[in-house]
Symmetry: C2
Subunit: 385 residues, 2 copies
């Protein structure tokens, strides 16, 4: 807990510098940000207030100089403590004009008329403002040239700073301990929903800020659906229990899972876990800077004896969000570089509707993988039957 | 905990029926849904997997007949247990076409070419798919006429069923108890961040599923910024502590706050709390079906002696989301009807940067307000100094 929260100003200066260099290459006048994580990445503005969909939040990144915020009045004190130039505000919610004419004024003042307006509009992005208001905004600016700036933010955010890596390592470390202690309080007979509840409480007690994401499943010799809320049936001997969590500390996620044998599980399930563990081990040993996500995928797919058709991805980036680019999948040719934080997440279908998933978090260093999670045991840890 | 999770099928049939009647009035062929809460409202599809931004999810509501889903393969088992017609899927993430041509096919098969395509694009909506993909989709469908369908979903979702109200009451009841017990474990000297942590743990222990939202503040005789993460300075005698929480049970939120005096607070702060309590009491006593949100706002503004200029809203709807329409604010002419679930949330600025906020949750019945929260005491409850 000795790790400091927040970032020094230099962290944000470095981010902005990279973004603005890329903007120059694409000859962009401004980039308009509307989403929680992109805005936090640039300014440090962190609040749970995003849970309320009522008010829109805007940050405009110019080609040169400081970003400016166009935000509801309620957010001004917090935004002003962040890395930001001018903060423009209006008493949102307002009708009929909920900040749009103000935003148009700010964009025009920064970029003139008919600017080249960067928008995050590609893979994995969302438009976190009403579509109707975007149309009104573009009318008010006067026919800006809309340019897809997704790749600029994607490329920058994929590579983590030392300070970001320290936060993710801290998150992974605390969550690893919660998993390690699970056999001391969970056993056969406990409903899956109570295992979830217990996990969340232990995670908070351990120092994590939030358990923003917890999914899991339990089934005889494997599980099927892994995204449903937990059921209330008790764990049974022979079940494989899996929990997959995205806990947060100071705004940074871990994302990994652990499998447990409830009593004695089938040899098939134990073997599947051992094979997944080995596929992860292969990736840990062989991942290198310069390799692509597709090649990393192939390392794991080879071990699992699949050509990769019909399986999902075997991991992804993480950081401010539970999942971030790239995707370890056959088609993702993203080149892996130093200081990317990644999950390794191979999965295996044992039979129709019965699968196992295994996951670790790493940072890629110049000489290979550095684990951020405490490595799962090769042999399934056992819960009391 | 005897309340059942989920809804009977009739709940979803009733929702769909209301939506489709409104679609007929607007002569809509289909409505495309992309957001977690609208999709859950129609289908019952509930998962934390929305935390991952990687994969888009689509549900298409036709003018007649069952909604159809166009979703990543990983979600098929869960979606098929919901209220849904055909479930179309593809192995997302895919490149370059991440479900868009499939979605276009489904929309065309349901609505023909050049359909009137309803989109949720107005106040409080977001586009939860890449903007680039929306453009591709519209090209693939062949110039659909895009129609704003925000009001259709807004009107339907604002009025809650008995089953929804029961869930929100259950959530509010559990959270009320957590607040009531806070003086038994929190006191001066405890850092605000530890108060947050304690609250989350107690909430989970009490049976709540998640503490999805927790903000708050503490300051001498009042607080300023109320959306920041908690600091690590210890509570001091004379502080007013406020916690505002959105806990969830079975996918339904509460949203209310409680104030506490740390030791003895200024007479000014105690008076402000009493005045806010009285403003809430006025609203509780006088709210009636047929009144507008603006009139409800005026009841509270009158008590506080403000004309409503420069203050924010004094509450809003809630349910599947922490905040939902309407807004109790000067300009919101939404007519309040039976079975709307609402917050009453007056706030008062004592001096520059020092304010108090008070909040209760109610359901509007034909004869007036029914409290869902356990009413806050008129006198500030005290924590040990």
């Amino acid at each position: 807990m000795s790790l400091e929260r927040g970032f020094p100003r230099a962290e944000y200066e470095a981010r902005l510098n990279i973004i603005q260099q890329a903007m120059e290459v694409q000859d962009l006048d401004v980039i308009l940000l509307t989403s929680e994580h992109d805005i936090r990445y640039i300014t440090g503005f962190m609040t749970q207030f995003w849970q309320s969909p009522t008010r829109p939040w805007f940050v405009v990144v110019p080609a040169r100089g400081m970003p400016e915020a166009v935000i509801p009045t309620i957010g001004v004190p917090l935004m002003e403590r962040g890395f930001i130039g001018r903060v423009h505000s209006w008493p949102s919610p307002a009708a009929p004009d909920d900040g749009i004419s103000l935003l148009a004024d700010v964009i025009r003042s920064m970029a003139g008329t008919t600017p080249r307006l960067g928008m995050l509009m590609g893979r994995e992005t969302k438009l976190m403002m009403p579509l109707r208001d975007l149309i009104l905004l573009e009318e008010a600016i006067g026919s800006p040239e809309r340019v897809d700036a997704t790749e600029i933010f994607r490329a920058c955010r994929m590579v983590k700073s030392d300070a970001e890596i320290a936060k993710i390592r801290h998150t992974c470390g605390m969550a690893s301990k919660v998993f390690e202690q699970l056999p001391s309080w969970a056993s056969a007979g406990m409903p899956l929903a109570e295992v979830f509840r217990g996990f969340k409480i232990k995670a908070l007690e351990s120092g994590l800020d939030d358990v923003s994401y917890l999914v899991g499943a339990a089934g005889q010799g494997g599980y099927g659906d892994i995204i449903s809320p937990p059921g209330h049936a008790p764990l049974r001997s022979g079940d494989v229990l899996m929990l997959d969590t995205g806990c947060c500390w100071d705004g940074y996620f871990c994302d990994f899972d652990r499998n447990f044998a409830v009593g004695k599980v089938s040899a098939e399930a134990a073997d599947a876990h051992a094979l997944l563990w080995q596929a992860t081990e292969d990736a840990l040993t062989r991942i290198r800077v310069g390799m692509t996500s597709a090649e990393l995928f192939a390392i794991m797919a080879d071990r699992l004896g699949t050509d990769g058709d019909g399986v999902g991805r075997f991991g992804h980036g993480l950081g401010l969000q539970l999942t971030e680019p790239p995707s370890h999948i056959r088609w993702d040719e993203t080149v892996l570089t130093e200081n990317m934080v990644l999950t390794l997440e191979p999965s295996l279908e044992i039979s129709e509707g019965r699968m196992l998933v295994h996951e670790e978090n790493i940072v890629l260093r110049n000489d290979g993988a550095e684990l951020l999670t405490t490595r799962a045991p090769a042999i399934l840890p056992q819960l009391k039957a």
